[in-house]
């Protein structure tokens, strides 16, 4: 396939996906739309993380912290922190807080990118991990801004669109769950397109050069400092928007809502989705949202031979299923779902070329 046909196929696939996303709520129950909105939110965070880790080669184990920054920005702008003794009176409509959430998280990401320049590989990974670890207690320390451990409640505030009543938009009446779905997925699709535009251009080439060999990148005139910090900034901004949406969807933030496990699962999401690809990330997002739920529904006893008597639904069973599937998945699709796509694509195009005319 020539690059042009490839791009054409990409466009068509993306357009088809947009249509699919647009009509999906009509075919599922109202509540499913709410579930799917979380998939959209995770997708945004994964897109950001993949720009940093998959394309630029910088492993981050702290993206949950950037989500927390976005989530708290949104929550504080919406509800304010006067009731905890803080200076912000709040009152911004939820949707308008999202760009600010992205901006704040992005700036923090840029700032973090500078010291991160000195660190590489594992040391960087653990430095980012440190932010995720330090996040919850820092949030608690500044209680007057963040509400401490109890967090900030958003449900029922006038700033939250569609708490319980339907949302009228463009002449259509959406249920609260459908509204959340369309909000999350509109942003996710835009985020997807933006990521694609960034990565196909000069910036994207520079990112990949940094990933493949820093030494080679420098010798061909790519500024490591510039592109590494830029990748951190963009990636954190994505996480910030996702975090803001997460706060809106949960109508609540507190430190426990952004645990260390979140950062780790985001990493799982991009590896399952496929490092250095975008479309596979949809599956990464589905995976990290649905597998824990699915595992909870599994009867561990039925998965084992009859001779082994296992008590069903005992706590812990779901975690075993989750962990084992994660490991098996790494065996079966080493390069994630994205890698699987590419292989299938190659098989098809190879066959076409080898077929005699």
């Amino acid at each position: 396939m020539t690059p042009r046909t490839q791009r054409l196929i990409g466009f068509v696939a993306f357009a088809a996906f947009v249509v699919f996303v647009a009509v999906l709520p009509a075919f599922v129950s109202d509540f499913k739309a709410r579930d799917y909105s979380y998939v959209g939110i995770y997708l945004i965070a994964l897109l950001g993380l993949n720009i940093l880790t998959g394309y630029t080669g910088q492993i981050s184990l702290g993206h949950g912290a950037f989500m927390a920054i976005g989530g708290y920005t949104t929550a504080i702008l919406m509800a304010g922190n006067e009731e905890f003794g803080g200076p912000i009176s709040g009152g911004m409509k939820d949707v308008w807080t999202l760009p600010i959430a992205g901006l704040v998280a992005g700036l923090v990401g840029l700032a973090f990118g500078i010291p991160a320049l000195r660190l590489s590989g594992l040391y960087l990974a653990l430095a980012t991990f440190a932010i995720a670890v330090a996040m919850p207690s820092t949030v608690k320390r500044f209680e007057e801004f963040t509400g401490g451990g109890s967090g900030i409640q958003l449900f029922g505030t006038p700033e939250l669109t569609g708490s319980i009543s339907n949302v009228e938009i463009l002449g259509v009446s959406l249920t609260p769950n459908d509204w959340m779905y369309y909000l999350a997925w509109s942003i996710a699709l835009v985020a997807f397109a933006v990521a694609w535009l960034i990565l196909r251009g000069r910036t994207g080439r520079a990112f990949r050069a940094v990933r493949d060999s820093e030494t080679a990148a420098v010798s061909s005139g790519v500024s490591l400092a510039r592109y590494k910090t830029l990748a951190f900034g963009i990636s954190a901004a994505y996480a910030g928007v996702a975090g803001g949406l997460f706060a809106i969807a949960s109508a609540f933030v507190n430190p426990d809502a952004f645990p260390i496990a979140l950062s780790i699962y985001l990493l799982v999401g991009i590896v399952v989705g496929g490092l250095g690809g975008l479309s596979g990330l949809v599956f990464g997002a589905i995976f990290i949202f649905y597998l824990p739920l699915w595992a909870q529904g599994q009867d561990l006893g039925s998965l084992l031979p009859d001779r082994i008597i296992v008590e069903t639904q005992k706590p812990g069973g779901a975690a075993i299923v989750y962990g084992v599937i994660l490991i098996l998945l790494m065996f079966v699709i080493p390069n994630g779902v994205g890698g699987l796509f590419r292989r299938v694509g190659q098989l098809i195009s190879n066959r076409r070329y080898s077929r005699p005319k």
Binding site: S29, F31, R34, F155, I164, S250, N254, P292, G316
Partner: protein, 408 residues
Amino acid sequence: MRLRSGLPVALIAALVLALPVALAGSTADPGVSATAILIGGTSPLTGPAASYATVARGAQAYFDSINATGGAAKRKIEYRIVDDAYNPAQTVQAVRRLVEQDKVFAVFNTLGTEANLAIRDYLNQMKVPQLFVASGATTWGRDAARYPWTIGFQPSYAAEGFVYGQYLAKTQKKARVGVLFQNDDYGKDLLGSLKAGLGRSGSKIVAAEPYQVTSPDVGSQIGKLKASGANVLAIFATPTFAIQAYVFANRLGWRPLVINNAVSATSNTMTLASEGGKNKTVEGTISTTPLKDPLDTRWKNDPGMKQYRAILAKYAKGANPNDANHLYGMAVAYEAVGLLKRLGANPTRAGLMARARSITSAGNPFLLPGVSVKTGKGDNFPIQQGQLGRWTKGRWVPFGGLWTSKRN
């Protein structure tokens, strides 16, 4: 003649009798079918608070035992437990799934202060009962007017802390109290009410050290409390950290009078803290509980505790009966069943809450004799009583009769 007229009469009678049932079927609230009532709740089956997963297990076992004898309100009780890993954002999503997708009749005994705060506004807006919250925060009872669909269960932390304060004020001339508390609403609730209970007595708090649930140990905090010159140590911590507090105090050779909060004072936990009898700091600890103690020989032949052990053995195989969280789960499930039974043939959510606001239950077999579960006008705290006890030679020895809290 009789036979011929008998048939239509019987038919009509059957129709008349069936009508309300049919109508009930069409107008009943979500979660209620002709044969079952579905309730649900979240529990930390994994994550940092996984030791509380046994609460839901105890409740589940009790519901199963009730179902085996016909259920309540002529229906089986289905109890759906969902893991939230002690993460309130997951609680929100799980509870919305329970309400909107699974269509539960009520949300029951969801565990954790923050988790319940996160879902309270939603459930009240949706008019879904948030029944018997598994948390002792004072807000569940205090703010009942603002949140009519939410009701707590256990004695509030505020009542508990006050009781300890009053005990010290009465029995100690000049106690210098050092407090280890969990850095969240639960720990701060207990700390504040302890201070209130001490009042203007000669005893006072000389040091208060918080800890984070995510930290590995509380060694440094205990060291600082000892250094503060305290002669009373108040432990307002969950079981793992409470055990640690004893271990570290003992290693420092520190033997203060210890006050240990109810959530960590089950015999099971105390036995672990005593390190096979080698830990001397444990001896003489003061705590309180409204529950019967599974290790207490007084209840060896008690019908309630026999029932508890039998139910656990049959419906929760492998569960440790000495873990009093099971007992707590059963006690709360017992009251839920009591409410459902009072609902009659046509259970509604509003009816459930109305009855939850007018409980008079004196015979809960899992609570100490004399502890009643009651709510009514102006009283939105189901349990407000407890028994002080002193840990003596490997078991709790009660003293001073039941206390009843008027402050919440």
